[in-house]
Symmetry: C2
Subunit: 285 residues, 2 copies
């Protein structure tokens, strides 16, 4: 074989962290490329094609996100097999090259790290942290600042009772059967509905340049969830239910009852939060 | 004439405040609509056409902004002559209708106020406040977070000496001949180059969700200018010169010398700040 001169001849595995503005994509996962919206993974792999690797590069994404959902930081692993005699990319070279080829898409590689060939981005993640941005104080969707469009949810119907939401959120902490908070999907075999949430927080958050328009009475809040992993649409359903509590449509103890029912069909209709406010903040290893 | 029943029969004048994401427009002012990028004013007047007024509605914009420049809040006055017998719009009705017709453009009416028929949005403005957003800590433009693209400037070349910039900014305060800081334009007759700056401030600023990625070493700064009015591209030239001070290419006292030269051609080449970081924050009456 052509392995010589101290050059590694097997593929090199990398862990990459990347971010994206999700509005333009069908989600993070690859889709058939003949669709109107395609996946972030399609763009990542198209950029990787231009690295000139000997074998097509596949991204193994750690954390699925839906159409319209954003990532401050998602992660994936990938293997790169270069032509014989060519040295492996450094993390910095790989970051820079992929970013050049990703332009002008709003997808960006944050960093790339050489890892062992046994490393698996999805299976080895210890936890995922999501934040959901709520905008309070809009009487109508047209009052969402133009700089915040597609980046938050402004639920209709006046102020939110934040202390009630905070009380309700405590019921979600810990290990539970989250069947009521999972959307049914026929794309995937049903996995266990038991999940563990390590952290839930509801805190005020700055909006984009909102210190310049405080007088408009708009308030941003962030709901943060950290857990090992989440079920399909679990975060958006949990946020939607908490907002229903904030609006007085549900009482805090109803969250506990919804958990105990363990039935996706018992989830109150039209209560799921839209994708625009959801951000995958980080994947922890 | 058809003036009866307590209905005002003359036109009603309104002062409107509006915001826009400037990247998609040729600037705020109206342009011929056959160009690739057209002006924010074109969209405002197209939305106003759908109000069914008897006379075409013209927006008299208070503050010009260039292509790529944003507004948290700009202002304009306009007259609306309704059909005989129809009552004047309230400010709220006008805001709501225009916003419906502006969708999906990233332009939004913030409020509308009935004013005297002698009111003039440009001539009666007491001052304008601009902010310019700088991103420090990017080794390469691809390190600008995807959520901040087109919304800041990340000058190349390492950290900025902020105290030196703050020292230099003090020379711009007060009344000066700003000829060196004006871009030449053959579109307008030359007006007096004397302008008064009431306030200059350079302060740290939050980035969009940047509290979630503090470890990346990115820092946002805002340069704020308040003045009665500004010359063509004056703010971008002042910011560019201050950044050159921050990079050590100019000393703070060079700002004073540039002012004293009173010659647009003496401005250091390739120093003007790009439009992406500039926001008209407010117009004061």
């Amino acid at each position: 074989g052509p392995c010589r001169g101290g050059m590694g001849c097997g593929p090199a595995r990398y862990l990459v962290f990347f971010q994206y503005f999700g509005t333009r994509y069908s989600g993070v996962m690859e889709t058939k490329s003949d669709q109107a919206l395609i996946g972030v993974q399609n763009y990542l792999e198209k950029a990787a094609e231009k690295l000139g690797a000997s074998v097509p590069v596949r991204f193994h994404i750690s954390s699925r996100t839906d159409s319209g959902v954003h990532a401050l930081c998602n992660s994936a692993h990938l293997d790169i097999q270069r032509a014989p005699g060519k040295p492996h990319f450094t993390g910095q070279q790989l970051t820079h090259s992929l970013n050049c080829h990703l332009r002008p898409e709003p997808i960006s590689i944050l960093s790339a790290h050489r890892v062992a060939s046994t490393f698996h981005a999805r299976l080895q993640a210890l936890s995922r942290t999501y934040i959901y941005r709520l905008l309070v104080g809009c009487a109508h969707p047209s009052q969402v600042p133009v700089f915040e469009r597609d980046l938050c949810w402004a639920p209709a119907g006046g102020p939110l009772n934040i202390p009630a939401m905070q009380e309700a959120a405590q019921f979600l902490l810990g290990t539970h059967n989250f069947s009521t908070f999972r959307s049914l999907s026929n794309e995937k075999p049903l996995r266990s509905p038991v999940r563990t949430i390590f952290q839930v927080e509801i805190q005020p958050s700055p909006g984009f340049l909102s210190h310049h328009y405080e007088h408009r009475g708009l308030e941003f809040w962030e709901v943060k969830f950290r857990g090992k992993s989440f079920l399909y649409r679990q975060v958006r359903r949990m946020v939607g239910a908490l907002v229903a509590v904030g609006q007085g449509k549900l009482a805090p103890h109803h969250i506990k009852e919804l958990l105990e029912i363990k039935d996706a069909l018992a989830f109150p209709p039209n209560t799921m939060a839209p994708p625009s406010g959801l951000f995958l903040k980080s994947v922890e290893y």
